[in-house]
């Protein structure tokens, strides 16, 4: 056994012991429904004390952001160590102490594109769960054409003046800050002239309105900017080069959403769910065949996620192939929920019946193949950039 392998084995034993000693036992193995997620932020209230305790302890060890530098509240782990940490968390059934768009999206962007002051100001508040972020990319009418940014930021000398509207801002009504794409040059070609800006949601002129979805829930908002004054130093990266940051984050988001296809079920496999169904719906050869095919594809996709993770951890990027993960993972998740609804029969069509929240979850999956780049855009990316097929 090499030294490196020995070190990792030691790390695994160490981190498993730490999780075991620090994660409140009531949290272990608890189903990961919506109420179990800790988002943090100024207005956050914990469901119970165990959640608070677990977050505090994780912050103490930097484990809300395992791979971030220690100076920003991370744990400074290597890729290999982070993988082991996540494996042990999953094995022990410990929930993530904190989830946030700050951890997933803004943090990586700041680490790559932010200046020293921005990192020092924002990253620690993310790792400590003090500030909850939301994302302001899409605009009404733009759809898949994300670079069609109309929200304007005018340079007023000592500040930016923002006017416009964003849509699909996740939980903007509960977020403290927003990172957004704004147009800073209206003369430049579409993909130029966009900048990446940070704004406190409490700034005068920012209002939000939740969007009610077909599932009855409102995880997204419309967010309006009416003469909003933003300090000049809130610009991330170069002026008019915000699209570079957006592309970086889009690839990042795709991998996350594609991978989330497994996560959304809280780790339960199709087979486990079927086993829990009432009656023998699997006696229907149509449903049985669909379940078998889904299980085959889901297992193979899970291995593919593992393979791409290994590739990323080996320092080789995933690049445009992330479009495949996003495409395949979200379509698979839609199939999964169609099957679950079909096996649940009439119980599945109740908002609050014996199958609990199945119907809203099913409807929610329909957005999987739209948000973060539609299935159609993913297939375009694979065709054009991976397969290098010609334009007309």
């Amino acid at each position: 056994m090499s030294d490196a392998t020995q070190d990792l084995a030691a790390f695994r034993a160490d981190i498993a012991a730490w999780i075991g000693a620090n994660c409140p036992s009531a949290l272990l193995g608890r189903p990961m429904d919506e109420n179990a997620i800790v988002w943090g932020g100024r207005r956050w209230t914990f469901t119970d004390d165990d959640q608070r305790l677990w977050l505090e302890r994780a912050i103490g060890r930097g484990l809300t952001a395992p791979r971030w530098p220690v100076e920003y509240g991370g744990a400074g782990l290597t890729r290999a160590q982070e993988k082991i940490y996540r494996e042990e968390m999953e094995r022990l059934g410990a929930p993530p102490p904190l989830e946030s768009f700050g951890l997933w999206m803004l943090g990586p962007a700041l680490l790559e594109f932010g200046n020293a002051a921005q990192k020092a100001e924002h990253l620690p508040k993310i790792t400590k769960g003090q500030i909850r972020w939301c994302q302001g990319y899409s605009e009404p009418g733009a759809g898949s054409d994300l670079a069609n940014v109309q929200t304007r930021a005018e340079d007023m000398g000592d500040h930016w003046l923002i006017n416009g509207q964003k849509i699909w801002t996740s939980y903007a009504d509960r977020a403290d800050w927003i990172f957004a794409l704004v147009r800073t040059d209206r003369e430049a070609p579409k993909h130029r002239g966009i900048s990446f800006l940070l704004m406190d949601m409490e700034t005068p002129g920012i209002t939000t309105r939740p969007i009610r979805l077909i599932s009855g829930k409102s995880p997204f908002c419309e967010t309006f900017f009416d003469n909003v004054k933003v300090p000049k130093e809130n610009l991330v990266g170069e002026l008019n080069r915000g699209w570079d940051i957006a592309k970086y984050l889009l690839t990042h988001e795709r991998e996350m959403i594609g991978g989330g296809a497994r996560g959304l079920l809280g780790g339960r496999s199709v087979s486990q769910i079927l086993a829990a169904q009432e009656g023998d719906v699997m006696a229907d050869p149509v449903l049985r065949a669909e379940a078998m095919q889904l299980e085959v594809d889901a297992l193979a996709f899970g291995l593919t996620m593992d393979r791409y993770k290994d590739q990323a951890e080996a320092g080789r990027g995933v690049g445009n192939a992330s479009a495949m993960l996003k495409y395949y993972g979200t379509e698979l998740n839609k199939r999964r929920y169609e099957l679950l609804m079909a096996t649940a029969g009439s119980e599945g069509v109740e908002w609050d019946g014996a199958q609990g929240g199945l119907a809203p979850e099913w409807l929610r999956t329909k957005a999987n193949s739209i948000e973060g780049g539609t299935t159609e855009v993913m297939l375009d990316i694979i065709a054009k950039r991976v397969l290098e097929m010609p334009n007309q």
Partner: protein, 377 residues
């Protein structure tokens, strides 16, 4: 195949009239308004349907009905599906009327009440999450000349609003046995019957019905004792065919809205309907709807002309319709993108009703199995 599947002149006129009426009287916005008002359907719409003769579409003329037949009922159901018009049409004008018209002169009054729009019915059948009439366990215990009904019906369409309930109960045998069942026609307000409204995704009236010693007499029995499955069959088949028609109309409605959107909406400096990948998918969807429409027309024709042999035709219609509606609403929501996910847009209503319609009265697998059995494998 001897009956033409083409629509007759009368049928074309009926479809046009229905489309015109429903566009005014019950656009999708009416469903939204009903939902927001916590109302399963609008009694005024039902009154108008009665005035046009729709509630009597399957009621014999001597009972005051229009007796237009199953193909006509399917055309009405298709048009209702196009705009998601909510009413007790299937439960009452199709299912109950089809059962009662075979029940002899005693049922004339009930049929008259359907034709005039005064009576509404619900069929209390399934006790589990899947369509399985033979699994009926709700017992009708004989007490002298009377029966006491006890048990639970899990998912009853129009169950909270209907004035009368057709309930399939076990009078002998054990659950799983298609024999030993009896069909009762009882007042919905009879003592011991608890009707619990279910909150379903299609915003229509569905209920759990709990029978706790509900009293019934021999006069409440439709058809023969212990032979309720056979008594119910014409109603079930008529309901399955009409529900299939509704789903096909729903698919066509969702496809039409989507096609309009594809022609209007611009992205990347072009109309999204000009993208070939979307064109091919729209063309495929149109083909599926077109093929399903044939199965719908056929089911209506067979029920009208050779009802004794309708099993295959009806199951074919319901299987195809469930599958086609699922494809249509999936494509519709996906092609609308984010806006299709919002409650403010109508397209989500189509997806939710399609799911309920796919389950009610037998899912795809149930009907495909009927077809396979009929075809000898």
């Amino acid at each position: 195949m001897t009956q033409s599947l083409l629509e007759t002149e009368d049928e074309v006129m009926l479809r046009d009239a229905a489309r015109g009426f429903l566009a005014d009287a019950s656009p999708v916005s009416a469903l939204r308004a009903n939902r927001d008002a916590g109302r399963a359907h609008d009694p005024a719409l039902w009154t108008e349907m009665a005035q046009m003769g729709w509630t009597g579409v399957l009621v014999p003329e001597d009972a005051g009905g229009a007796d237009m037949g199953h193909r006509a009922a399917g055309i009405l159901a298709e048009e209702m599906g196009q705009v998601l018009a909510a009413s007790p049409f299937l439960s009452t004008a199709v299912i109950a009327a089809s059962v009662l018209r075979d029940a002899g002169p005693r049922a004339t009054g009930a049929l008259q009440a359907i034709a005039t729009g005064q009576a509404t019915y619900a069929l209390a059948l399934d006790e589990g999450p899947k369509f399985a009439p033979a699994a009926t366990a709700l017992r009708a215990e004989r007490q002298g000349n009377a029966f006491r009904l006890s048990g639970t019906k899990a998912f009853v369409a129009d169950g909270t609003t209907a004035g009368r309930i057709l309930v399939l109960a076990r009078t002998s045998g054990a659950p799983g046995d298609p024999a030993g069942l009896t069909l009762f026609d009882i007042d919905a307000n009879r003592a011991g019957l608890d009707r619990q409204a279910l909150s379903t995704i299609d915003s229509r009236d569905h209920a759990r019905l709990v029978f706790d010693g509900v009293e019934a007499t021999g006069d409440d029995i439709i058809g023969d004792l212990d032979n309720g499955f056979a008594t119910l069959r014409p109603g079930l088949q008529a309901g399955q065919a009409a529900l299939a028609a509704e789903l096909t109309g729903l698919a066509a409605g969702a496809a039409a809205i989507t096609l309009g959107y594809l022609k209007d909406r611009r992205q990347f400096d072009r109309t999204i309907g000009s993208f070939q990948a979307l064109q091919h998918r729209a063309a495929h969807l149109w083909s599926e709807i077109e093929v399903t429409a044939s199965a719908i027309a056929n089911a209506g024709r067979v029920l009208d002309h050779t009802p004794a042999d309708a099993g295959l035709a009806v199951s074919l219609a319901k299987a195809r319709a469930a599958q086609t509606a699922k494809l249509a609403v999936s494509e519709a929501v996906q092609m609308h993108g984010g806006i299709g996910m919002t409650d403010a847009h109508d397209i989500g209503f189509f997806m939710k009703r399609a799911r309920v319609g796919a389950e009610w009265l037998g899912d795809y697998g149930h009907h495909a199995a009927v077809i396979a059995a009929a075809r000898g494998f």
